[in-house]
């Protein structure tokens, strides 16, 4: 009885298997697609659209800050009632702009757009898998993100404006609708959108981890994984552990706002009237929020660092320096990320001793970060560097990572933080080390893997121009901003014209704003290059950067399942560049040692005996599923 049924189920699986190869209709192919490559592109395009919106917002408030006398009437067609008849930006809307810029850039662009794009695209292609562990969950992940995007976008058009309590949405400001026009419906939509976003990130992250651990091809042991995959794996683990905590804090905030509980609220008087809420603690929210918030910084940054490792090694034509140290430092950063959250809260009245503990832990992060910095530089040292746009952006990332990281050492001091907390010094610090560095990682990744994504090349010259304008622009914006911060300019202020101490820095603020506008304009070079090249770019060869990783052994336009026929087996790590004695200056991972006798080291010759064993290994090939 059971044997027959077993047969039946086996047959059932067979029909499912054939179903894979049936022609898909438009909806299955492009909309509710379960193929990781299409989902990656969906993430990328959505992320780019959000980036345009998010950066445009920053330009509007930079004009307000740097050129306070300018007439903004020309923005009336877009912003409508938020620009007064005299051409002035509405102060409430200024706060909303700052909030939405932060939310959009941190979550929608640099989390979903960066990790969503490259984890989805590269994990199956680089570990040698047909697709993600669960294509369905992956598809859901994108559509939850899309739904979150729609809700957040809709909140921009509310008459009372979107959320305006800062991207960290501290209560009581965010909990009380009376506090600010944006704390009403705008905040409600913000919370709904973020809850969906968290679901999306969890679905995606669980999939990434499962895929990396279970679907690697034959021979792809952990010590042969490209560093990109290591970084995506660690990023996903960070997200898996920290996003549920954000969900917790958001949930309690929703209860406070809509059901009248007092988790975060206590003893509040509005117009002399006491609110009924007693016994809550706003500091509790900060603890919960920053337990996500700090790992989130690394969720944003680590994929960029992984992409950089890969691009720098490929284009220096040298093995990555300190492969194991790179992995160890990423693990170290990930571990430390969970025990430093209170350095965002030094001025909340925290016990100074506790502050010292968190300061100490925070400063330790400098060690693994420095290991990474030095490893990048030593990889470049004496390499045959090829300055592709992807390479330029990767080197740029290292530069931003170092210069932004240095100010982190200053801010990590609990004593110095009393002066610098919530000033433009903080803004400059995290924009360099997290914002711009991760954005450079995103650019590097797009330039480097564009040929694999779309089968065409982007224009190199335009890419190089884009790099130099962006790189110089970023420094022109954020280096002066440190000075403004030391001078005491607080964040999130609508204007600085009414204080004596800020007068003499007005020209510096104007300089920052003009630099910001110029670097914003430079991004249109990228946008044009990107969209033009998708349709009209030069056709890409199979391995344009002469790289070692598995994705370049797949066809130029990989179909569903990535490889035609068998998935290649892996015999070596992914960094055999410029190996002495080798015919070419790169040896892809799928070339066995038995074919490269001229360049093998003695211990590698011994590994030849293992090749038969590797070929006969079991692995999860989703096309030959049990």
């Amino acid at each position: 009885m059971s044997a027959i049924e077993g047969l039946e189920t086996a047959h059932h699986h067979d029909t499912e298997h054939e179903h894979h190869h049936e022609a898909q209709n438009f909806w299955q192919k492009y909309i509710f697609c379960e193929d990781h490559k299409v989902i990656a592109k969906q993430y990328l395009i959505t992320g780019i659209m959000w980036a345009v919106i998010g950066i445009s917002m920053s330009i509007v408030f930079r004009i307000q800050l740097g050129l306070p006398d300018s007439n903004l009437s020309w923005l009336k067609p877009v912003l409508g009632g938020w620009i007064s008849d005299a051409g002035k930006l509405d102060p409430n809307f200024y706060l909303a702009l700052v909030t939405m810029h932060g939310t959009i850039m941190v979550f929608f662009v640099l989390t979903a757009g960066l990790s969503g794009t490259f984890s989805n695209f590269l994990i199956p292609l680089q570990i040698g898998a047909r697709d993600m562990a669960s294509g369905f969950m992956n598809m859901l992940s994108y559509w939850f993100f899309f739904l979150a995007s729609v809700i957040m976008f809709a909140s921009l058009f509310l008459q009372t404006g979107p959320a305006a309590g800062g991207w960290v949405i501290y209560p009581p400001l965010s909990a009380l609708p009376q506090a600010h026009p944006g704390s009403g419906m705008g905040m409600t939509l913000w919370l709904a959108s973020m809850a969906l976003f968290i679901v999306s990130q969890l679905l995606g992250g669980i999939n990434y981890i499962t895929t990396v651990i279970n679907l690697r091809t034959r021979g792809m042991s952990f010590d042969r994984l490209p560093l990109t995959i290591w970084s995506f794996l660690i990023t996903a683990v960070l997200g898996l552990i920290s996003f549920p905590v954000l969900l917790s804090s958001v949930l309690l905030l929703i209860f406070d706002r809509h059901f009248g509980t007092s988790f975060y609220l206590s003893d509040i008087y509005i117009n002399g009237e006491a609110l009924p809420n007693v016994g809550g603690s706003p500091i509790l929210f900060q603890h919960l929020f920053w337990f996500l918030g700090h790992p989130e910084v690394y969720i944003v940054l680590l994929p960029g660092l992984g992409i950089t490792s890969e691009v720098i090694a490929t284009n220096s034509r040298k093995p990555i320096f300190g492969y194991r140290a790179m992995i160890a430092s990423m693990l170290g950063i990930a571990f430390l990320a969970f025990i430093v959250w209170a350095h965002h809260m030094f001025v909340t009245g925290m016990n100074p001793f506790l502050g010292s503990v968190f300061m100490f832990l925070t400063l330790i992060i400098a060690v693994p970060s420095a290991v990474k910095g030095f490893n990048y530089i030593t990889t470049l040292w004496k390499g045959n560097i090829v300055f592709t746009p992807g390479m330029l952006f990767s080197i740029g990332l290292v530069s931003l990572f170092v210069s932004g990281g240095l100010t982190g050492i200053i801010l990590g001091n609990s004593a110095l933080d009393i002066q610098l907390h919530d000033t433009y010094f903080v803004v400059a610090h995290f924009h360099l080390v997290m914002g711009a560095a991760s954005a450079f990682g995103l650019f590097a990744g797009v330039y480097h893997w564009f040929p694999k994504m779309f089968g065409r090349m982007m224009n190199t010259t335009l890419g190089q121009i884009h790099f130099w304008l962006t790189f110089i622009g970023i420094y022109l914006v954020f280096i002066p901003m440190h000075y403004v911060g030391i001078a005491g300019f607080p964040r999130r202020y609508y204007q600085f014209t009414s204080y004596d101490f800020t007068h003499k820095f007005m020209d510096m603020n104007m300089f920052i704003s003009i630099a910001a506008i110029l670097s914003f304009l430079a991004q249109f070079i990228f946008l044009w290059n990107f969209f033009y090249s998708i349709f009209k770019g030069r056709r890409a060869p199979q391995n344009p950067w002469r790289s070692n990783t598995l994705e370049w052994t797949a066809p130029v336009n990989p179909g569903h399942g990535n490889w035609v026929g068998e998935i290649p087996a892996v015999y070596r790590w992914s960094y055999d560049y410029s190996k002495p004695g080798a015919k070419e200056d790169f040896i892809p991972q799928n070339i066995p040692y038995s074919q490269t006798l001229e360049s093998n080291f003695p211990h590698e010759n011994e590994l030849i005996a293992n090749e038969k064993a590797i070929e006969s290994q079991n692995y999860n090939d989703q096309f030959n599923a049990h």
Binding site: E5, L240, P244
Partner: protein, 195 residues
């Protein structure tokens, strides 16, 4: 001779780890639920340490609901063993008991809420009461999701699609159900200890 053999075994290349991806996904999902409740309970402790904390005795019915959930977990394990041995009749009985006790548990939790209200402990008020409702409510929400997973296994069991050669579905179901049981035990002991 033996040592040579062992040496050879060691030299063989490591196989890439290949667990069942679906089960692996379940375990990661459990990690995220653990983090959700870990953050809730630590928020509880942080808030409690600040004082102004309403203390109240947990209604007795939560003791009984805990027992019900434990029995349902045992029934789930019985169902799994029956499926393994292709004992279809017992499988059907066991999985039905599990499902029914799951529903009973939910109803008892709801009764517990009613008794709390009768004790003047409300969702809106001192955070100590609010947290109690949030913990039980969040757990109840997960029990509902567990019941949905259970329902799939239940219909599969009644259509004879769960048997010794097709255990994945009921394994996933059993793991999740036991997890929810352990999670409730944790919350129960936690709420008893730090009331």
């Amino acid at each position: 001779m033996e040592s040579v053999q062992q040496y050879k075994v060691e030299r063989e290349p490591q196989e890439t780890l290949a667990m069942d991806p679906k089960k692996f996904i379940l375990w990661l999902f459990l990690v995220s639920i653990i983090m959700l409740f870990a953050s809730q309970t630590s928020a509880y402790l942080v808030r409690r340490a600040e004082g102004n904390w309403l203390e109240f005795e947990m209604p007795k019915i939560f003791w009984y609901s805990t027992a019900v959930l434990l029995v349902s977990s045992a029934a789930m394990q019985w169902a799994y063993f029956s499926a393994k041995k292709d004992l279809f009749k017992q499988l059907k009985i066991a999985i039905s008991i599990t499902f029914a006790l799951g529903l009973v548990f939910l109803w008892m939790q709801f009764e517990g809420w009613k008794q709390l209200v009768a004790m003047n402990v409300y969702f809106v008020g001192n955070p100590s009461g609010s947290f109690f409702y949030v913990f039980t409510g969040l757990h109840g929400f997960h029990i509902i999701s567990g019941l949905i997973v259970l329902l799939f296994s239940l219909t599969a069991a009644f259509n004879l699609r769960v048997h010794g050669k097709n255990l994945r579905r009921i394994q996933i179901c059993a793991t999740y159900w036991h997890f929810l049981d352990i999670l409730w035990l944790y919350l129960f002991v936690f709420l008893l200890t730090f009331n």
